[in-house]
């Protein structure tokens, strides 16, 4: 910098300059002169892109990082010009590859996981949930219907109970069990060990199930709905069982602690699957692939949230349910969670929602 202002400095740069200038002038072809004039920019971009590809982001200087978008556009326009004026296949192939590599970097995933999470919690998630409201309503209706069907089936013929509730799931909760035995499944776990372990297992299992419910949406959403119906029919059957023993309120409370969160999450997962299935079956005016991709991205946001909700649900199930051993307290926790989720999804408009709307 300083040297450039001094006479000796300019002299030195003069000795450097004529060489490249003469090379440019001596080039016979105009397209070669074009190339020689811009080669330095290309090579600088290549160096930046190469070090980013190798994961050496930290070693790049700030100037290089700031220059990247500009250089990318310069090289992209070089490519456009070269395509119209040059027949040097090597240069064109190089520029095409370089533009592609720079495009990968410039349009790569920009947000770090952390930034993304902040935007996600600060409105992106709830906006995505609101965007699939129709599917949520459908999923809710299907779940209510599934519960009713489960109840009615078992009320009609007790044998259905074993068909709906698998043996290992049922445990002591079978038709004909005494009231005391059923009561025992609801209360008196507070002294149990390994709750944290239990919660982690629950989370791991539930999240895989809900990812499945989402992924099955790809088949036009029908398997997602079937999965919802099946799970809810199981719930309906259990409700009937406890109703028969006069423990319906207590069972509801036992379920409400984590169930409001977990069932909400499962509903969202089913709705997300349905959303994809619906856009696949009825893409509207857009091409199928584009419609599916748009729906898929929205549904993926919802699904990430579902996994978070299931973590909360597992914690509630593993700890709160065992520690709070009375029905009123359980209803209070469950009701509070439900209200909190509803408020977050439907009343909270975060920063990101505004940005998207603008």
């Amino acid at each position: 910098m300083n040297a450039a202002t001094l006479p000796s400095g300019t002299g030195r740069s003069d000795t450097g300059l004529p060489d490249s200038v003469s090379a440019i002038e001596s080039a016979a072809l105009r397209s070669d002169r074009f190339r020689l004039e811009r080669e330095a920019d290309w090579q600088r971009l290549e160096a930046i892109v190469t070090s980013m590809e190798k994961g050496r982001l930290r070693r790049l200087s700030d100037e290089d990082l700031l220059a990247l978008p500009g250089l990318y556009r310069t090289v992209a326009s070089s490519l456009s010009i070269a395509r119209e004026t040059s027949l040097d296949a090597a240069t064109l192939a190089y520029l095409e590859a370089l533009v592609q590599r720079a495009w990968f970097v410039v349009y790569g995933p920009r947000s770090s996981l952390w930034d993304w999470l902040r935007g996600f919690l600060g409105g992106g998630w709830s906006a995505a949930v609101r965007a699939i409201w129709l599917d949520i309503l459908v999923a809710l209706a299907v779940m209510v219907a599934g519960t009713a069907v489960g109840w009615l089936l078992v009320a009609h013929d007790v044998d259905w109970y074993h068909a709906l509730v698998g043996g290992d799931m049922a445990g002591g909760r079978v038709p004909g069990a005494t009231r005391e035995a059923l009561r025992h499944t609801l209360f008196g776990d507070s002294g149990r060990n390994g709750m944290s372990l239990f919660a982690t297992q629950l989370f791991s299992n539930n999240s895989q199930v809900s990812i499945l419910a989402f992924a099955l949406g790809f088949a036009f959403g029908i398997p997602s709905l079937l999965l919802l119906v099946h799970n809810m029919a199981m719930l309906g059957a259990m409700l009937w069982l406890y109703h028969g023993a006069g423990l319906l309120t207590d069972f509801a409370g036992w379920l409400a602690v984590h169930g409001t969160t977990e069932l909400f999450a499962i509903m969202l997962a089913g709705a997300a699957g349905l959303h994809i299935g619906r856009s696949l079956a009825f893409p509207g005016n857009r091409p199928v692939l584009q419609a599916t991709a748009e729906a898929g991205r929205r549904a993926a946001l919802v699904m990430t949230g579902v996994v978070l909700m299931l973590i909360v649900a597992a914690l509630l199930e593993g700890f709160a349910r065992q520690l709070v051993d009375q029905t009123f307290g359980r209803f209070a926790i469950g009701g509070f969670m439900l209200a909190a989720w509803c408020a977050y999804f439907f009343a909270f408009r975060g920063n990101r929602g505004k940005v998207r709307a603008a």
Partner: protein, 318 residues
């Protein structure tokens, strides 16, 4: 003007992608083989990671024996062991689900396996690859891959029609990349992504400038034939240049770059016969270089005027 004018169409996997700036960039869709290879590598890495984590935690816990006995105890040891088991469960969940996310969200857009295979993911519409896309793409991996494999492994004596139906249904997802042109798997369709090859292209010296290697080559010729050591320059008439187009120019460029005496000779013979010259005998390379430069100059001058000549068959629109 065709969209891939500068490169010979090498495979059926070449596509054109339009960047947000409106530049069309030729890209190559990754082959199915390299994707399977990348996946295998990633699984290998995941398995090794899982194994190491399990081994490490068992080491910390002090061996397998007695774990299940101590786990249920309500003392400090029991709690510590419970904690370790939780760490293990969480780690397994993360390895299974977050491994792909973590790496594909990085600036390289590729897991280690993909990087070794030389491929990466990109947005299909040419826009930015967003975190949403990466997440959507990887959430579907379960149904596409793990589920069918589990089902197939369950094949046994009691597997009946139900198993067959389920497996057939799931196999559709597993084999999805075979049924579409861009080798999209279900997750790619959902997310709007695709897997592309990473280009590697070095900037080669322009043939019309590369005089130094030509001189070296000429010396060898000079030794063989005893011709004049100074490089001869050749001039060509307008009519002699008008016979060829861009396609032939690029073919000539390739021959010059490959620099194999035999092909140089045969190309020289073809051109010399076509334009009815024989003065470049035993000096083929210099002759061809000059011909290349002048032909390129002529064709590029035409380009600037909006006249293009694709190959020798297309008439020059003059």
């Amino acid at each position: 003007m065709s969209v891939v004018p500068t490169r010979y169409r090498r495979t059926s996997r070449d596509r054109v992608l339009v960047t947000p700036e409106g530049i069309s960039v030729p890209v190559t869709v990754a082959s199915r083989g390299s994707r399977v290879g990348a996946l295998m590598l990633d699984f290998l890495v995941i398995l090794v990671l899982m194994g190491l984590t399990t081994w490490g935690l068992i080491e910390i816990a002090g061996g397998l024996t007695g774990i299940d006995r101590n786990l249920e105890q309500k003392n400090a040891l029991g709690h510590a062991l419970q904690f370790l088991v939780i760490v293990w469960l969480v780690a397994m969940f993360l390895f299974r689900n977050a491994y792909f996310l973590f790496f594909e969200l990085g600036p390289r857009g590729a897991t280690p396996g993909k990087r070794i295979a030389g491929i990466r993911i990109a947005a299909r519409d040419g826009g930015r690859l967003t975190a949403d896309m990466v997440i959507a793409r990887n959430l579907l991996r379960d149904i596409e891959l793990f589920l069918p494999i589990v089902f197939i492994l369950q094949a046994g004596a009691q597997s009946g029609m139900g198993w067959l139906t389920a497996t057939g249904w799931l196999a559709i997802f597993l084999l999805m990349p075979l049924f579409n042109r861009d080798a999209l798997r279900a997750g790619d369709m959902i997310a709007g992504t695709w897997v592309l090859e990473r280009p590697r292209q070095k900037l080669e010296a322009a043939m019309s400038l590369a005089r130094a290697p030509a001189a070296r080559h000429e010396d060898e010729v000079a030794l063989d034939a005893g011709a004049a050591p100074a490089r001869r320059t050749y001039r060509f008439e307008e009519a002699e240049l008008a016979v060829y187009g861009e396609y032939e120019l690029q073919a000539l460029e390739r021959v010059l770059r490959d620099d194999r005496a035999q092909s140089l000779e045969s190309v020289y013979e073809t051109i010399a016969r076509k334009i009815d010259r024989n003065d470049g005998w035993n000096d083929e390379r210099a002759f061809l270089e000059d011909y290349y430069t002048e032909l390129r100059a002529r064709l590029e001058a035409g380009m600037r005027m909006g006249r293009r000549k694709a190959d020798k068959f297309s008439g020059s629109q003059e």
